[in-house]
Amino acid sequence: MILSCLLFIFFAFANPDLPGGELTHTDFSRNAFSHPGPNVKGETKLQFGVGNSFFKIGWPEAPASTSDRDGLGPTFNAISCSSCHQLDGRGAGYYAPTSHTEFNVNVSLLFRLSNAENYGEQLNPLGISGIPGEARPSVLLRLVEGKYGDGSSYKLRMPEFRFTDFAFGVFTANTRISPRVATQMIGLGLIEAIEDADILKKEDPKDQDADGISGRANFVLDIQSNQTRLGRFGWKASQPSLRQQNAAAFAGDLSLTTALFPTENCPPAQLLCLQAPNGGTPEIAENILDRLTLYTQTLGVPARRDLTNPSVVRGENFFLQIRCDSCHTPSFKTGATHEVPFLQNQTIYPYSDFLLHDMGPELADHRPDGLANGREWRTPPLWGIGLIPVVNDHQNLLHDARAQNVEEAILWHGGEAAPARDAFKNLNKQSRIDVIAFINSL
């Protein structure tokens, strides 16, 4: 009796079936990424709804009668957070093909820029009435062939981005372009609630344990405290907190100002942009950013599926055997200090170490971001990955959405991950299917 009680307690608090701890829910429909954790109740749940409203609803240009909701642009990528994170999910990256392999870039894929003084740090393809968008991106997908260890072959899509209709002159040879697609919003607060020390103890920048895996932390400016802090959000871990990540997305993607980012994104060459009316100083009041941040902190995580499926069980063993877990760390426990009590002391299974890794020339964007160099990317968490097709009708993965499923994403791994990738390639066909089945059960 006592033993079974103890077992019950153990399972209730550390259970891989419940990847988000008490924030795990069991809706596996296309709303699977849109629910607060079931433990989020009372006023916090109402405030979650307020944040949801500001996440979901489009922002008009200024001036509009809905004065707390105006100020879009002058140039922008999207009119709302949910334009790219549809149903709190993941962006597809590309539209249907216009020719055999040429695609239009979907709203959910943005481009960070360096050395593009007329365009700032992010390309904004759209403009409000009377203001031109900055340029039009498109993508050419070339097919690259490869072979598994068993001799069977595969094809991967290699994107080549193109830009036309420049409003302020073409990019130069020095311009660096980093494509980034919108990712699913689940469990972000839990990631924020992990103690710095627990992430940092997995760092091994000089690979002293000689396992071929380094793992570096990005340290970035926390604007509010004006201190350098561990970066943990974004494709290169360039944001230290969800509040700053959200404010940066408002600034970069919708061109909405906040106390953290008070300046409109209008480079000196863009006169009409500079002269356009704004939606208040700042355009997003602090209480709106509070609610939006709470929303992003309390979105829950769907439970795992297909746990007893033999293929999934075998797949987990292969996943560990070929050392995917070197970077895709299965579990963390959140600390006891996060401002949102619901997030504290949760045992979670995000399958990421939240550190930067050299992913080789295969995935390099050649654009440094903070301490991250042009070959390094933050290990993305894997939770919810199997539900992306349900929520978003695709499973395009990696920073520029080039992979069309889990298998292609694995095959694109390079650099430090090349040995794990090669080990995967050398598994037999059924074993490869098992690994993919396991990952899709997360």
Binding site: G49, P60, P63, A64, S65, T66, I79, S83
Partner: protein, 356 residues
């Protein structure tokens, strides 16, 4: 013929109470959408009269009918939130009811006297249904320029007062008094026609005398009842109580309300709720949703009935206008009571889901 009648009667006799309710629910959807289309058509006629010869009286008549038609439409929103014809992937909901308005995308606003499609003859030489619909489709990243609130904006104008709605003059539609009055007249009549067409397109899908429309599949689908119940839970517990009430209550921004130009948001809320209440309590073919619940759990059913009626009387005496009520302490108490009660109702409906 006689044989057919017998067959129909036999089929009727075999219907379970659940089937009977779902059939009645669907027939009522057809009645309400048809009524809504009719009232929108009356609005369309009054708008045509107005733009043919703009006067203040004709403007007032159109505004009064907008309010009447809007009340009926607000009741139909109980038929949302389960991928029904109004808001499935191809549904016209966004074209009918998008909010908030990007006013400067349509017409001049205070601080931008030349803005909008209406004032951009070069950019948009033709204003017709196809142009406006194609603008909505462009990238999906332009704000919507049609529907109830676009019509409301053109009829009332922006609301700058703290104690009344917008006060647009009929002269905005008179040549020589306001730039591009001809295009404003055209824009208003085009979007009012579109409104009628879009509501009609939903109504035909619920027509019980068709055999290959949504009605036909809905009354025969095994999961229709659970969809209806879940849509009610969502509407009461998330959309109406949080999105449409708590956001404004919490943010305290005067114009964070759906019908901000006409200051009639209190009607939107009441008639939205009336739709929910009727779906719960009204008998269709002699059976109400509450009676279906009572068959399994009488206590829960009477609890839902009591909650539904208490919310109804509170909302009926709602402290209007909504954009002022959110600042007054006594009104805030009432609003918060309604929000919490809708949350409570949604929890009861959630319980009912498990027993139906």
């Amino acid at each position: 013929m006689f044989q057919l009648l017998i067959t129909l009667l036999l089929a009727q006799a075999q219907l379970t109470p659940q089937n009977l309710y779902i059939q009645g629910y669907a027939q009522n959807a057809f009645l309400l959408y048809s009524k809504s289309a009719e009232e929108a058509q009356t609005l369309n006629q009054l708008v045509k009269d107005f733009v043919a010869n703009p006067t203040q009286e004709k403007l007032e008549a159109a505004k009064a009918q907008w309010i009447v038609a809007r009340k009926i439409y607000s009741q139909t929103e109980t038929y949302r939130f389960f991928d029904s014809p109004i808001d499935d992937a191809d549904g016209p909901e966004g074209l009918i009811n998008a909010w908030p308005m990007d006013e400067a995308y349509i017409d001049s606003v205070k601080g931008k006297s030349n803005s909008g499609i209406i004032n951009d003859r070069q950019g948009y030489p033709v204003i017709d249904k196809n142009t406006l619909l194609s603008l909505n489709e462009k990238d999906g990243e332009k704000n919507i320029s049609t529907g109830w609130h676009a019509i409301e904006f053109l009829l009332w104008g922006q609301d700058f007062s703290t104690n009344g709605p917008g006060t647009r003059s009929f002269e905005d539609f008179v040549d020589g008094r306001m730039p591009n009055a001809d295009r404003r007249r055209l824009y208003l009549s085009v979007i009012t026609e579109l409104l009628v067409e879009h509501i009609q397109s939903v109504a035909v899908q619920w027509n019980p005398s068709s055999s290959n429309n949504y009605y036909a599949s809905f009354v025969n689908a095994p999961d229709s009842l659970s969809k209806v119940v879940e849509s009610l839970r969502f509407f009461a517990g998330e959309e109406l109580s949080i999105e449409r009430m708590f956001v404004a209550y919490d943010m305290q921004d005067q114009e964070d309300e759906h019908s901000c130009f006409s200051d009639t948001t209190h009607y939107d809320l009441y008639y939205n709720y009336l739709g929910i209440k009727n779906t719960l309590l009204q008998k269709y073919n002699g059976i109400s949703l509450v009676s279906l619940i009572a068959d399994n759990d009488a206590t829960l059913a009477s609890q839902i009935g009591a909650q539904a009626i208490a919310i109804d009387s509170a909302l009926f005496q709602f402290p209007a206008p909504f954009d002022q009520a959110i600042f007054i302490d006594s009104s805030r108490e009432t609003i918060k009571w309604i929000i919490d009660s809708l949350q409570g109702l949604a929890e009861s409906i959630q319980q009912a889901k498990t027993i139906l």
